[in-house]
């Protein structure tokens, strides 16, 4: 792998599927996401990440680095290199770019076998279909990550605020993006959690960031806005 695999918390061995049928177990997440998803991804649950983007990929990265397999369904334009830089090893990735009209059946089949299925639904799925897929995730102990809207999801994450650094008006280049991610659960009493992340950092990894100046003190990692080398030179 070209980037070092991010260190992950490992709460339960992924390959042991015996505990899965009871719905027990958690899949680890990247350290930067622990604050948002304490313990990790609950097996058998549905987690949404707003639209498609690096957040969706990084949600799967921790578990895949720990040995889990991930299938991405309905995204013809996956940036595989971005996934790799975020810690999601392409080695254990399956792509079903165009699942066609039978996409729900494909997703149900993949949930039985893959630990994580990352889905961008081609259409707003009717409630009956959603319940069917939720049941499949529960039965097989997998996690359905949805890049989109999914009423009834156990956790919802979304990127609330983003700022690119390193790029100006006619100079520099995109170096890193600081993003505020907000996680909320289904329970009404649960308070939404929020965290600032480098999504991505300058090497493509997803790490914790300090809140921007004005919200809290200056970040320890600086702002990655130093002198930039050119994006590319003539070949």
């Amino acid at each position: 792998m070209e980037t070092g695999v991010a260190q992950v918390i490992s709460l339960s061995p992924v390959r042991h599927r015996d505990d899965v049928l009871t719905g027990a177990g958690l899949l680890p997440v990247l350290p930067a996401l622990r604050e948002l998803l304490p313990g990790g991804l609950q097996r058998g649950s549905v987690v949404t990440s707003g639209g498609w983007g690096l957040l969706s990929l990084s949600l799967a990265a921790g578990a895949v680095a720990d040995g889990a397999w991930c299938a991405i369904v309905g995204v013809p334009a996956v940036g595989v290199r971005a996934a790799a830089q975020a810690g999601l090893e392409p080695d254990r990735l399956l792509l079903v770019a165009e699942p066609g009209p039978g996409w729900a059946q494909a997703v149900a089949s993949l949930l039985d076998g893959f630990d994580i299925v990352l889905l961008r639904p081609p259409e707003q799925p009717p409630a009956q279909l959603r319940r069917k897929l939720e049941a499949a995730a529960r039965r097989y102990g997998s996690v359905l990550l949805v890049a989109g809207d999914w009423p009834g999801a156990q956790s919802r994450l979304l990127v609330a605020d983003t700022k690119w650094t390193g790029i100006g008006l006619g100079h520099g280049r995109l170096r890193a993006r600081k993003a505020q991610v907000i996680a909320s659960g289904r329970g009404a009493g649960e308070r939404p959690r929020s965290a600032w992340l480098w999504l991505p950092g300058p090497d493509g990894a997803v790490t914790a960031a300090a809140a921007p100046a004005g919200v809290a003190g200056a970040g320890p990692q600086g702002d990655y806005s130093g002198a930039a080398e050119p994006l590319a030179s003539s070949g």
């Binding site: 070209e2 080695d91 990735l93 039978g102 700022k163 790029i167 520099g172 994006l231 590319a232 003539s234």
Partner: protein, 459 residues
């Protein structure tokens, strides 16, 4: 050298409708749908070789003599299949590879006369080899067609590009991919399993098939052999037998064999319980080590493989892929998609320094086909780039794929990229920009031949 002998005459039948269709939604509909076609072809020649559902092949030597020539055979065959309700194309040429391409040529396929296969192949682009790594590399070296590849001395191709190069060079000349070992498969290389009581469902049989295939591979490996064609024989409780030949040019891994057993059984549903499964390695080649795992240690577990194969049966073999990082200038060139279960190309070094490669962080969305866009300045004029790599004006608005324009809040560039400067006909000049829009999105844009394109989005 025996390997230079002319390839045998082959007819390939291709059901294009079937291959492109979306028979999704109904499990394994695709695999089932092909079985009647194979049955029709089987009436012309009992030795039908199924390359994958949708494509099958027969040797023409015997049947052509019986049906009055190759053209007549192809005509009668396509008519018979047509009567069965399936549109198909038939191609005849020397060797399986060329015949497969002949079936794709023209609306009904073409008949390449004996000996003219190299001429037929010469004009085709190297992309038809279906070897992603090589097909990306060769055009960079100015080798665009099979004719140009065939013109290279084969020893040269082998030493420069390794075993894939040797294989490609043989194919481009209209030779069989590897010299087959002229030896009947010894009986002791076949493996079989009896089911008592008969197995009613296909899943246990498919699992048995995987174990059997492993066993067969161990025996082959012990003899220094690999197989490119395997015969799968299934016997039912009512005495009926179904036998099919399956070919796979990536060499048949244990998983690939199990997959084909799955297709065969799906196409044959409704039969009585299965009592016997036998695998006979049918065409043997010397093992050259091409089967080394492409994905390092990440060998899928049975459970993962089963899920992936099931979805392949629904959607088609090629539509369920594993990505491999590769070198390349454009973001979309940096990933190869290899169908699940295929023995892919050898690991390619993605860490080679590719000039003009976009530095980290990489974009999370990479468009295989770049989106048309429009980038305008404050007064609404399209932004251009001068010969000295200066933008005509600062980009102020970005409209992607005809959607409303968004204000550009930050931008950088242009960075000139020149591809294939050594080949004036295919040289491509680009000026790359990065743009950040008001909604917080960031884009990788390029100006090429006076048109703006969006290659990727950072999101």
């Amino acid at each position: 050298m025996t390997g230079q002998a002319a390839s045998r005459r082959v007819l390939v039948l291709r059901c294009a409708d079937w291959l492109d269709s979306d028979r999704a939604g109904d499990d394994n509909a695709a695999a089932r749908a092909f079985e009647p076609v194979v049955a029709i072809v089987g009436e012309f020649c009992p030795q039908v070789e199924v390359l994958r559902p949708g494509i099958c092949a027969i040797g023409t030597r015997g049947p052509a003599r019986y049906f009055g020539g190759e053209a007549e055979l192809a005509r009668k065959l396509t008519e018979a299949v047509g009567r069965g309700g399936f549109a198909c194309q038939a191609g005849v040429a020397d060797g399986l590879f060329a015949a497969g391409l002949a079936a794709r040529a023209g609306p009904t396929g073409v008949l390449v006369p004996p000996g003219e296969t190299p001429e037929f192949l010469a004009g085709l682009p190297v992309g038809v080899l279906g070897m992603p790594e090589l097909c990306e590399l060769l055009p960079r070296l100015g080798i665009e067609t099979l004719g140009q590849l065939a013109a290279l001395p084969s020893a040269e191709a082998a030493s420069r590009f390794g075993p894939p190069g040797k294989l490609a060079s043989r194919l481009a000349r209209g030779l069989d991919p590897r010299p087959l070992i002229a030896r009947r498969p010894a009986a002791d290389l076949s493996v079989q399993l009896e089911f008592d009581p008969p197995a009613g469902q296909s899943e246990p049989v498919i699992f048995a098939a995987k174990a059997l295939a492993d066993q067969m591979h161990d025996r082959l490996a012990a003899a220094g052999l690999a197989c490119v064609r395997v015969q799968v024989q299934v016997r039912c409780a009512d005495g009926q037998e179904l036998s099919r030949l399956w070919r796979h040019d990536g060499l048949l891994s244990a998983l690939a064999v199990a997959e084909r057993v799955c297709w065969q059984l799906d196409g044959w549903r409704g039969a009585a319980g299965i009592t016997l499964l036998r695998l006979v390695p049918d065409q043997l080649v010397r093992a050259t080590g091409r089967q080394l795992a492409l994905w390092g240690d990440s060998v899928p577990s049975d459970r993962v493989a089963r899920a992936a194969i099931r979805v392949q049966a629904m959607l088609g073999h090629d539509r369920v892929t594993r990505p491999v990082l590769a070198g390349g200038r454009r973001p979309a060139e940096q990933v190869l998609l290899v169908p699940f279960g295929d023995a892919g190309v050898p690991q390619r070094p993605a860490d080679r320094p590719w000039p003009d490669q976009i530095p980290a962080p990489a974009p999370a969305t990479v468009f295989g086909v770049p989106l048309a866009a429009s980038v305008t300045d404050d007064s609404g004029n399209e932004v251009t780039v001068t010969g000295r790599a200066q933008p005509s004006a600062p980009p102020a608005w970005l409209a992607v794929a005809g959607r409303p324009a968004r204000a550009v809040t930050a931008w950088a560039g242009p960075w000139p990229v020149t591809q294939r400067w050594w080949d004036p006909r295919h040289a491509r000049r680009q000026a790359r920009f990065q743009l950040v829009t008001q909604d917080g999105a960031a884009w990788l844009a390029a100006l090429q031949d006076g048109r703006w394109l969006i290659e990727a989005r950072y999101d």
